[in-house]
Structures are given as structure tokens and as C-alpha cells.
Symmetry: C2
Subunit: 337 residues, 2 copies
């Protein structure tokens, strides 16, 4: 049997003494100019085909070069990376090539790759997503292969068990993980998720109902340390709801987006942790990877040293999280003082 995903993730969190995650969400206009220019020149040199296709490939090349530099500069500090596929898929086949190369590079470095894809469908359609991102697919000659080979995915929940259980099955078989959307970080997330069902339906809010389901789905995928490979996404922008959700699914690992650019602070993510100091992984995307564009990093590093800036911000984030965990009494036993 492949090793349980939750156990693997917790081992990486312990190895780095850091419950954080770097969101690799590239926006081409914020990637340093030198990287973009090199990618374009390289693809257009001596070129005589479809210019648009060449530029799509160049864009993908620039993203890969940027991501690899950020990963290489931070892999000893952070346990996990979470590339959001929207920023890759928008470039078509070239973009998915960049996505695949990014995941492969994360795993070559021995770190955890969470494919933030928020996929959702039904039956064997969902199975295709689960097989493509986590498992293996059948090819035209009857053989099979893994394709994206991520450690985990994010999953959207509206259609219910017919979707999520396809992912749960692959996770259980292949030692992979899935984080189901429960309470999202965006301003309008309450529009549906905070609405309360009537007493006949448990008087729970929609996000509480989701938390209950995630807890049930997760029972099949618990690892040696008690945590499940089926986790939840709960935005750092809603600490009160996070406390309620934490109670409802004590075995789940909560992926917490929105630290940083969206305004979540270390104190806001404490409710996502259990008293043992585990149970959450805190994501920081554009604030960290584009740290070079803001002070104090822009003065200290500038555009050429964007990767060092990302590293320094990753270290600052770890310090911020760990000191806040210590102050709140939620620090794993055995982590250095």
C-alpha cells in the first residue's frame, strides 16, 4: 500500500517545522521582465511557424522558470506547494505542460504538491479528473500511465458524494489527498455557505453540513497519526466559522487560503489548528511569490533577486505562524523552542 497522504504531509510539516504552503499562482505580467524576455526570445529565435502558439509556449516557459526558481529557493523552508491550475490552463496545452512540470519539480524536491483544481463532476467523469490528477489513465494502446501525479487536489462540493467519493476512492488506493471546499475565503462566500437549513435538516448552515460530510468521507482515509487524507478548505478570512468547523471534523487537515494578500493574519488561522498544533496547512500565494514587488523586499532584493525575496518572506511567514502558535499553546511537541 502507498503511504497515507496525511501521514506524509505531517512528516513534511515536522521536517520543516512549518505548517505553511506556497501558492504558485503565476500572473505573467508580474513575472520578472528578464525571465519573460528570455522565454520569448528563445521561442521566437529562427522561428517560422504560428507566432501565437510560440508565444503561448514562451509564456509557459516563463512560468516554469519562475516557479522553479521560487521552489528551489524555498524547498528547505516549506513543506508544500499549491499551484492553482486556473493560471496555467488559461494558456491551453502549453499551460498544462507548465503545470505538469511544476508539479514534477515540487515532487523532485521531495515536497508535497497540492493541485488546486476545484474539480467537480459526476460518476466516471469525476473519475477521469481523479485519475488524471492523482492516479493513472488508460491510453490508446491499452496501457496506462500517471499524468499529473499530484499528491493531492482540491474539490468542489455542490453535486455531493457522487463527485467526492470518486476522489476519495483514488486517494485511499493511491495514498493521495483531497481538500473539499467547505468555507471559502472570498467576500461573497456567505451568500450560500452561511445560509442555515431548517430544523428538519439539522439547522446547520450549508458550510456546517459540508463539514459534516467531509468528516464522514474522511473516515476511510485516516493515517497512523489519526488525521485523514480527506481534508477541507476553510479561508483564513473567517476565523469564527473556522472554530466551528474545527470542532466538527477533528480528524481533517484544513487547507487555509488567504493568509497574506487577502488579509488573513496568523491569529486568524489559529482556530484551524487542533490543540496538538496540527490539523492545518496555511497557504500564501501572491504575497509570497511576488514579494520582490513590495517593501521591504523590493528595496533589499529588487527584481533580479525575486527568488531570495520569496525565500525571506517564506521564513518570515514561518516565524509569524510558529510564534503565534507558541503564544496560543498550539505547538507540536518536539518542535525546537
Amino acid at each position: 500500500m502507498p503511504r497515507n497522504f496525511a501521514d506524509r504531509l505531517l512528516a513534511e510539516i515536522d521536517a520543516t517545522q512549518n505548517p505553511s504552503c506556497v501558492g504558485l499562482d503565476p500572473r505573467i505580467s508580474r513575472i520578472p521582465r528578464a525571465i519573460r524576455e528570455r522565454a520569448v526570445e528563445s521561442r521566437l529565435a529562427g522561428f517560422s511557424g504560428d507566432r501565437r502558439e510560440a508565444l503561448l509556449e514562451a509564456t509557459a516557459d516563463a512560468i516554469v522558470a519562475f516557479n522553479k526558481a521560487v521552489i528551489d529557493a524555498t524547498a528547505d523552508v516549506v513543506p508544500a506547494y499549491k499551484p492553482n491550475v486556473a493560471f496555467y490552463e488559461c494558456y491551453g496545452p502549453a499551460g498544462l505542460r507548465a503545470y505538469r512540470e511544476t508539479i514534477a519539480h515540487i515532487r523532485q524536491k521531495g515536497r508535497i504538491a497540492i493541485a488546486d483544481v476545484k474539480r467537480e463532476d459526476i460518476g466516471d467523469t469525476s473519475k477521469s479528473y481523479a485519475d488524471g490528477f492523482l492516479g493513472s489513465v488508460e491510453l490508446a494502446d491499452g496501457s496506462s500511465t500517471s499524468v499529473f501525479d499530484a499528491d493531492a487536489v482540491t474539490v468542489s462540493p455542490y453535486v455531493g458524494s457522487d463527485n467526492t467519493l470518486q476522489f476519495v476512492t483514488v486517494c485511499a488506493q493511491q495514498g493521495r489527498g483531497a481538500f473539499i471546499l467547505v468555507k471559502t475565503s472570498n467576500p461573497s462566500s456567505g451568500e450560500l455557505q452561511d445560509l442555515r437549513f431548517d430544523p428538519q435538516h439539522g439547522s446547520r448552515t450549508l458550510y456546517e453540513q459540508m463539514a459534516l460530510l467531509v468528516d464522514q468521507w474522511g473516515t476511510k482515509c485516516r493515517g497512523d497519526r489519526g488525521y485523514s487524507s480527506i481534508g477541507a478548505v476553510v479561508g483564513a478570512t473567517f476565523p469564527e466559522q473556522a472554530a466551528r468547523i474545527r470542532e466538527m471534523m477533528e480528524n481533517a487537515i484544513i487547507l487555509v487560503p488567504a493568509y497574506g494578500a487577502q488579509g488573513g493574519a496568523a491569529k486568524d488561522v489559529m482556530p484551524n489548528l487542533n490543540n496538538d498544533g496540527y490539523g492545518a496547512i496555511i497557504n500564501n500565494s501572491r504575497n509570497l511569490i511576488f514579494a520582490y514587488t513590495r517593501e521591504p523586499y523590493s528595496s533589499k532584493f529588487g527584481e533580479a533577486k525575486f527568488a531570495e525575496a520569496a525565500r525571506e518572506d517564506a521564513l518570515a511567514m514561518r516565524e509569524d505562524l510558529v510564534s503565534t502558535m507558541r503564544a496560543s499553546g498550539r505547538i507540536p511537541v518536539g518542535w525546537a523552542a
Copy 2:
């Protein structure tokens, strides 16, 4: 201004006198052996690189060849096609190449391409999806290009307006459409969607709440014929809920999956139509595209004539729908008797 999507879709429905849609959901093992073998031979002939990558490309080639044959055989009968990206994306970059070529072929034939992607995220992440599938993206040299160039997408709704409005904006600007999941066709769809909120929250079920939101979002995208480019997905397997949803959003076009393989019949989809005979587009996926694998088509056509079998099933579906529409009094004025 680009022409409104709803107006374009209705024009195609009138041109074919057929409110149906072909779901291009290829499963490699069900594609005729001759197509698969040709694709594999062609990619492996004189080949000396990474065999796995060559087989991924061969699989994509087989899918494109199959799809083009089905599209060519049916494009005079059906107004729209709906490829579900899960069956393509699972093959990585090669799969997305097949997806893009499939959409391009549908549009070259003058038909409507609905990218069934069920995408969902927040803010500028959702915008990347909307730009990639419907609009245009920025490249590494600062220029921009369209990528998938579909006529419409499907969208998942759990995170709320922060997601859907990104798609609505692109649809309004570019003359494209979006179908938001409201009541899905799968057995477990009631698990969340049928739960009823308390009186403080309108005593509506979750799917009714979604229908209300879709109706609101759609007001910005109404065409000359009164229908909106922002529609809903409502499975053919739930005709009672469909009637309620139809009432709540009279200007929306409803994309109705699950005719055919999932058990929906023509009578089940009538509640999705307005009295004018418009307002729904009925999808048939694997039952139609793989018609050659079942009777009476397998005896009559066999594997070699899979495209003719699909065409005959598309004609049978149109006849089934139109005769049922006529019997129920929901037939557009001016359609041939």
C-alpha cells in the same frame, strides 16, 4: 458589440429545428479500434523519444479523429456540442490540445461549442478561467490571444457571486454564455441541493436559491429574444424540480444533461421548456456518440460506421424531442409540421 450568445443559440436551434446537444465525452476504450490503432502506429512509427508522451499524443489524436467524424456526421442535425473537459484534461497537455481542436472544429462547422468545465474559483483566479475558455489572455510579450474560444462554459456555484460574476462579465463583453449548476442529474444531487433553508432565509431549497441567483445574474445578458446568456444546468432526472426552476427563471436557457444513458426521457425534459417551445437545450452524450455499440445500431452499422450510427441516433433524438414537444404544446411557432 459581439452578438448575444442566447440569440445565437436560439438561431441555431431554429436552423436545425432541434433543441438538442451532443456531449462529446470520449472514453478511449470505446473509440473504434481502427482509430486507436492508426493513432498509435502513426505516433510510434520511427519513434525514438519518450514512449509514454507519444502514447498520450496518440490518445489525443484518436479522440480528435473520433470527435471530428461524429461532428461531421451530425452538424446538419444538431445545433450544439458539449465536450466535457474531464475526458480530455486527464491526458494532460495532449488532452487539452484535443479539447481545443474539438472546439475549433465545432465552430468551423458553424455550430455552438459549450465547454463543459464546471470551473469555480474566486476573483482574478476565476477571471483566468473565463479569459482562457471564453475571452483572451495576456502573453509573455504583452500581447493577448484567445485560447479555447468556446461559445459558452458550465460553472460550479458553491463560492457564489465572486466566481460567477467573473464569467458573467466576460459573457456580456464577448457575446458568450455560461450555464451555472442548479440541480444536477446525479443520484446524490439531493444530498445538498434539496435541503431547505429556514424561513429567515426564504424557506427555499439550495437549488431554488441557486435558481434565484442565476435569474439575477442573467439580467445583464438578455438578448433580443428575451433569453439570457446566463443559463442553468438542470438534470433530466428530476422533472418535478425542473418545473419549479423553470418558473423561477423564465429568461434562462436550461442545459439539460442526462437524456439517454442516465435515464432521462423526452417527457422528463418538457418541464424545462417554456410555453414558447424554447428555453432548454437537451444533452445526450455517450448513448449517442457510442450508439454503434448498442442495438439497433450495432447490427445495422457496426464499428466502421460509428459516425453514421451517431447521426441516426441524433435524428431519432430530434424526432423524439420534437414529437413530444408537439404533443405537449411546447413547439416553436414556425417549425415545420
